[in-house]
Amino acid sequence: MNTSEKDKCKRCGAVVRRESTEKLCPACLMSGALEPPGGKAETVSLAPGESLSLYGPSEFPCEFGGYRLLGLLGRGGMGTVYEAEQIATGRRVGLKMLGQQLDSPDMRQRFLREGRLAAGVNHPNSLYIFGSEEVEGLPVITMEIAGAGTLKDKLKKRGPLPVTEAVDAVLDVISGLESAFAGGVLHRDIKPSNCFVCPDGSVKVGDFGLSVSTLARTDTFVTAHGKIMGTPAYSSPEQLRGDTLDLRSDIYSVGATLFTLLTNRAPFEGDNAVQVVANAVNKKPKPLTELRQDVPPSLERVVARCLAKEPDGRYADYTALRNALLPFSSKEPEPASMKVRLSVG
C-alpha cells in the first residue's frame, strides 16, 4: 500500500486514499448517500431525550467524556462554550457544544463543519481549533482559549475604545481573516463577540460557525436549505439578500465591527431584525464623526468605504484595507506588510 498516493479531495478537502475507494473521495461518497433520492432535505430528528442530560451542566467541575468541565465561557449562536481540561493531557481548552434548542441534523452538520473549516486555519490571529469529535454521542469542537473575553465584553466594560486601540484590534482581525481566506475560508459572521482578546491585548478571530469554503460551489447540507444568515447588524447587504458572497462581504463586517468599537453601537439598528435588515440594505450609516468627535474624517471615510452597499464600492482585498487603516494604528506599516507576505505566501 503506497501512502504517497494519498491526495486531498478538491471538493471537500478530505484525504483520498485512492486504492481503497477507487480514487473516489470517501467523504463525498458518504455524504452523497446522505441525500435522499429526491434530493430533498432529510428531516430526521434525534430520539427524544437523547443525550439531553449532557447539555448545560449546572455544577462545575464535572466530567464529560475525557474532559473536566471547569466553567461556562459563553453562549453563542451555535452553542455553549465551556472552559475544560483534557484529563489525559491536562491541556486547557474551550469545549464548544451544540445548543440543545438547535440540535437538529442540519445544525449538527453545520456545527461539525465549523471545526473542519477552522481547523485548516493556523495563524496567530485565528483562534486555534484542535479538532471536532464526538463525546458521549455529542459533537463537540475543542479550541484554544484566548483568555481575556471578546471585543464585545471589552465594549461592555469600557464603552467606546480609543481610536488607536480599536484600529489595532481590527488590524489583528484582518490578519486572521486574511489567513483564513488564503486557506479558502470566508468567515461570514465577523462581529465584536466573535473576536477574542488575549491577555496581551492582541485579538484572534473565532467562531467559524457560518464559515464557508470558497472552494465549494454549493454546500449540500447547509446553504441548500437557505438557513445561513449572519448577525443582521454586521452582515453585508448581499449576505442579507442571500446573494453570492466573496471576501468583500467579510470586509463589510470588519467595517461594521470597527464602527461598533468606536461608537459602542452597530452601524444599523432597529427595533427588530426585520428593521435592521431593511436599514442595512437601504440606508446609509450615520457618519462616525457625528457620533464621536475625535474620529479623524479620513478614518470615517475608510469605515464608510467598508460599509458601501455594493461590494465594488469597498476595498478589494485585505491589503488595501490594512494600508488604509495603518495610519491610525500603533503598528508599524513595514513589518506588518512583511509578515503578511510571509504568512500568505
Partner: protein, 244 residues
C-alpha cells in the same frame, strides 16, 4: 434494484438483534451469529487501533482474535446499554476495556482451543496497516477513520460486484465518478464511449447513485439500532473522513 432501506429494516439489523436478544436459546443463537458477522466485517479498524496502541503485529492478531472470541462467547460482555448506542462505539469501548482488564486472563485461557473468528492467513493485516498507520497518531481517530473507510469501500466493492455480475463493469468504471457528485468526464463523452444516448447515461447515473446510497445505508444500518441513529452515524462518519 431492491427495496430502498426504510424503517422496516431496523426490525432485523444485526446490531439491533444483538441488543434485543432474549434469554431463549433461539434468540441467543441469532444474536450470536449477528455479532459474529459484525465482528468479521469490522476486524480491520479494530486491528489498526490495537496496532497503533503499540502492540506488535503478532500480539495485535492474537488480541483481536481473543477479543472477538470473548465478546461472542459472552454475547457481548459489558453490553450495558443494549439497544442503545452504536456498534462502532460499543466495539471501541469494549476493546479499550479488554486491553486494560481482560487481556491477560484471555491469554491464559487461550490454550484451551479458542474459537477462531478471524482467519488471518486469508487477510493481509500488516499490508493494510502499513498504508493506514500514518493517517493519524491518535488510535481512536485512526479507528474511526478506518471504520468509515471500511464502510464506504465495502459498499463500493459490493456495487462493483453487482455491476460486474450484470456484465456492466465498463459502465461502472465510466460512471463511478458520479457517486461523489461530480463526473470526471462530460456526459456526452461518457455517452459516446459507452455507446449510449445521453438520456440513457443520465438514467444509469441516477440508478447507480441510488443503488450505492442503498447499499451504503444498509451496511451502516447493520451497526445502529434505529433510523435516527443511522443518519447521525453517517454524518459522524462524514466528519471523521474530513478530519485532518
Amino acid at each position: 434494484m431492491k427495496d430502498p432501506p426504510g424503517r422496516r429494516q431496523f426490525a432485523t439489523t444485526h446490531w439491533s438483534l444483538v441488543g434485543a436478544a432474549k434469554p431463549d436459546e433461539a434468540s441467543q443463537t441469532r444474536a450470536r451469529e449477528a455479532l459474529e458477522e459484525l465482528c468479521r466485517a469490522y476486524w480491520y479498524p479494530l486491528y489498526a487501533f490495537v496496532r497503533s496502541r503499540g502492540y506488535s503485529s503478532d500480539d495485535a492478531q492474537d488480541l483481536t482474535q481473543a477479543f472477538f472470541a470473548r465478546i461472542i462467547e459472552t454475547g457481548g460482555f459489558a453490553l450495558a446499554e443494549r439497544g442503545r448506542g452504536r456498534f462502532r462505539s460499543y466495539l471501541l469501548g469494549a476493546m479499550k476495556h479488554f486491553l486494560a482488564n481482560e487481556w491477560h486472563r484471555a491469554q491464559r485461557q487461550k490454550r484451551g482451543g479458542q474459537v477462531q473468528i478471524i482467519e488471518w492467513d486469508a487477510l493481509d493485516p500488516e499490508g493494510r496497516y502499513a498504508g493506514a498507520s500514518e493517517q493519524s497518531d491518535n488510535p481512536e481517530h485512526l479507528f474511526d477513520r478506518e471504520w468509515a473507510l471500511e464502510t464506504v469501500a465495502g459498499a463500493l466493492q459490493a456495487l462493483r460486484d453487482e455491476m460486474a455480475n450484470a456484465g456492466k463493469s465498463e459502465q461502472f468504471d465510466a460512471l463511478k465518478g458520479s457517486l461523489t457528485g461530480e463526473d470526471e468526464l462530460p456526459r456526452e463523452e461518457i455517452a459516446a464511449r459507452l455507446g449510449m444516448s445521453e438520456g440513457a447515461v443520465k438514467v444509469a447515473v441516477h440508478r447507480l447513485r441510488q443503488r450505492y446510497r442503498n447499499l451504503l445505508r444498509a451496511a451502516i444500518a447493520e451497526t445502529v439500532s434505529n433510523e435516527a441513529d443511522l443518519n447521525e452515524e453517517m454524518r459522524y462518519l462524514v466528519a471523521v473522513l474530513q478530519r485532518r
